[in-house]
Amino acid sequence: MTKQVTPNGFTLDDSGQRVVVDPICRIEGHLRIEVNLDENNVIRNAVSTGAMWRGLEVILKGRDPRDAWAFTERICGVCTGVHALTSVRAVEDALGIDIPANANSIRNLMLLAQHTQDHLVHFYHLHALDWVDVVSALKADPRATSELQRSISNWPKSSPGYFRDVQARLKRFVESGQLGPFSNAYWGSAAYRLPPEANLMAVTHYLEALDFQREIVKIHTIFGGRNPHPNWVVGGVPCSIDVNGDGSINMEWLNLVSSIIDQSITFIDQVYIPDLKAIASFYKDWTYGGGLSGKNLLSYGEYPDHPNDWSQANMLQPGGAILDGDLSKVHEVDVRDPEQVQEFVAHSWYSYPDEKQGLHPWDGITEPHFELGPNFKGTKTNIEQIDEGAKYSFIKAPRWRGHAMEVGPLARYVVAYARGHEEIRDQVDGLLHDLGLPLPAIFSTLGRTAARGLECSFTAHKMRYVFDQLMANLKAGDTATANMDKWEPDTWPAQTRGVGHVEAPRGALGHWIHIKDGKLENYQAVVPTTWNASPRDPAGNIGAYEAALLGTPMVDAEQPVEILRTIHSFDPCLACSTHVMAPDGEELASVKVR
């Protein structure tokens, strides 16, 4: 290949200089990106390689379905809890368990809190350094920084003295010669466009957000006992409520939840959103990274308002699919339909009997097959260059009706926008208006980052709504938190299948399960990063990461700031894109999971 056009409309050209970025840092897990640059340092080919596998699905085989949430929760500790929630939903779906209204509200609160905290941490601690030059903050005038801060927000920590102190702390840190996590980075690169004052403000909020994120997750601690990795239970939530008692959730704890919600709303609306707008205003013309977002987007819909009703009309954030950028039509998604969600492995380190075909997760096969293509460079244990013409990633290629889809906050926002969701429309239109940008501007790296910020505000405010719903239900005398009618395996059918889905911080997440004789017979997870970081499929469609990198000019081929910026805008989670593998190539049959 030198030049080719993919079926989903992207032009690839691998003739130019190859640049390898491995590891991609500030993500969860291990990811490798390779790109080809043309003579103008513009990315013309992109290869995304998931570089880790843990095999949780094969480990789950034969286990008690009620225990599965704890295993799947450990798929990811960053978006902690989302796999656990998906798992209990899948088991409840398989067994026909309806959860009580309070359990629905508490689960929604926990998921909303997760989104809020995860988005906040992502923006400041995993993503900001792609836009913010830490060292430049040393040149800032604290007084001007204070003025900038006061011009964009009511946040009280805005005095010149405050910024002066932070700057002094930063100065000493830099001058100590021990730069810690800021060592060897790309400070001073022309890719950074913020004035020193904005950089100082952002660095200050980096530290404030690191401190504040601890508060948001306390909602998990109250209802689930801890964070990361709170506890869940099939049939509801493990915590009981006795408002008048002292042995379970009572008024004091509910008040604490309420107070955390208030603080979260304040922090997000007074710090995160103003920072987002301020930073975005300096990068308005950096319009790269759209990739698949202007074409194909997928969201399952989230936050069932009333329990046990999975219709999109009942979702606080309705889902669906957009194809070919046509916002006038939102396609309904049926996760049970074998023709819709399918996974391909032609370019993944797995094998299928027929690799031209995709398989629905209920029928999913996962047989590992680590094999480097004929054109790779290096040795098996020292890969210098991947051969994307062959198998090249531990990530499968999921497709919806054969289309590569982008998932995540931007997908959710565009789908809800297309569905006419009023609140989300107001948010999006408001931001675009403030920045003076047209709607298509959101189909970009910056759009992805902006949608995450807007969603963070949305989820913080929705916590208030759900909390009030919980209180109203308690006031009405309903204190049930778990339905234990079908807890015992002797109440279960001999064989059953189920599916659970959640909109995780990083996008559409589904678990497909098969229960036989009280044990898990098959477990397949199709996770957000599998969608976004997917390699090519048999037809040659490229995935969302690869598509988003194309056409981006790099200021300096040696400094991958632009690659990091776009990849980070997806908030990759590589541990999530876990699939099954065998002990060794010869004994595949013994761990074959069907």
Partner: protein
Amino acid sequence: MGDQQTFYEAMREHGITRRSFLKFCSLTAAGLGMGPEFAGKIAHALETKPRTPVIWLHGLECTCCSESFIRSGHPLAADVILSMISLDYDDTLMAAAGYQAEEILEQTVQKYDGNFILACEGNPPLNEDGMYCIQGGKPYIEKLRYMASHCKAIIAWGSCASWGCVQAARPNPTRATPIHKVIHDKPIVKVPGCPPIAEVMTGVITYMVAFGELPELDRQGRPKMFYSQRLHDKCYRRPHFDAGQFVERFDDEGARKGYCLYKVGCKGPTTHNACSTVEWNGGLSWPVKSGHGCLGCAEDNFWDRGSFYSAVTNLGVTGGVEATADDIGEVLAGAAAIGVAAHAAASVVSHMKDGSKGDSSHD
């Protein structure tokens, strides 16, 4: 390194008074369960030592340990990272990527050979030549071995690094292996838990930086200050256990009253961790307090001990024995009883046959 700051200098430069610094030292001493006389030692240690370089590697994992670490309230994670240690490499947090990131490892080996702490989160897989975890095109195990050979001591964060954890659960398809089984020549502190409590993590690293040595370890290599007791022994629901008051199923009357969770599978009686004392997220709550039993996540191979919702679990026999000791025992005892009865019957029959031939075995 002339430009290396001591911890005390760093704090003074960050505008912290000597008085606050000493207060911090006594709080740290108290937090580590040590008497006030140790505050002076900590202060002295922090005043004279440059910030210790820490290299934080990630193998197969879910990153819950890092997430937990940044939840630390005392000391704040930001203060640990910026003032107490020098976190020179941590692919989850660091600004650089690609070869600029990997360069730091080599620089560290050159500058601080034998003087940096290696913090390991996650574990290396050994199958497929280690290529189930690829970093920089190479197997993670190579990076781990190389850095370990130059470090001063290793912290094994979490149950992955300490025991193997979820990816090492049966059948452990990647042959994920805990640190102490691949690195044999360096002191290792295990800080198990999935994840460990934030303040336990910062407590361990603070201790190592302040004292320049490993904390006192128990037989299995865990710091005694956090892992010497079972949750059960300091559980605030213990009186209900002793009284015989149990939650029989979730959301029953006992659950609302905060009874003991043992019968719904709490593993507190066999789990060593600080949950019931330090508690989680700033001492707010912990799993048992919220109403769910302990999963036993700080214990070796807790994934393969059978149901999280049963008090008696399985025997850890490889090959897929899911039955609990009680299941097997009841079957064996039943079989013995039946066997005895059958043998008795056969004896009588045999005896009568002999008797009919007029040839009794005893007369």
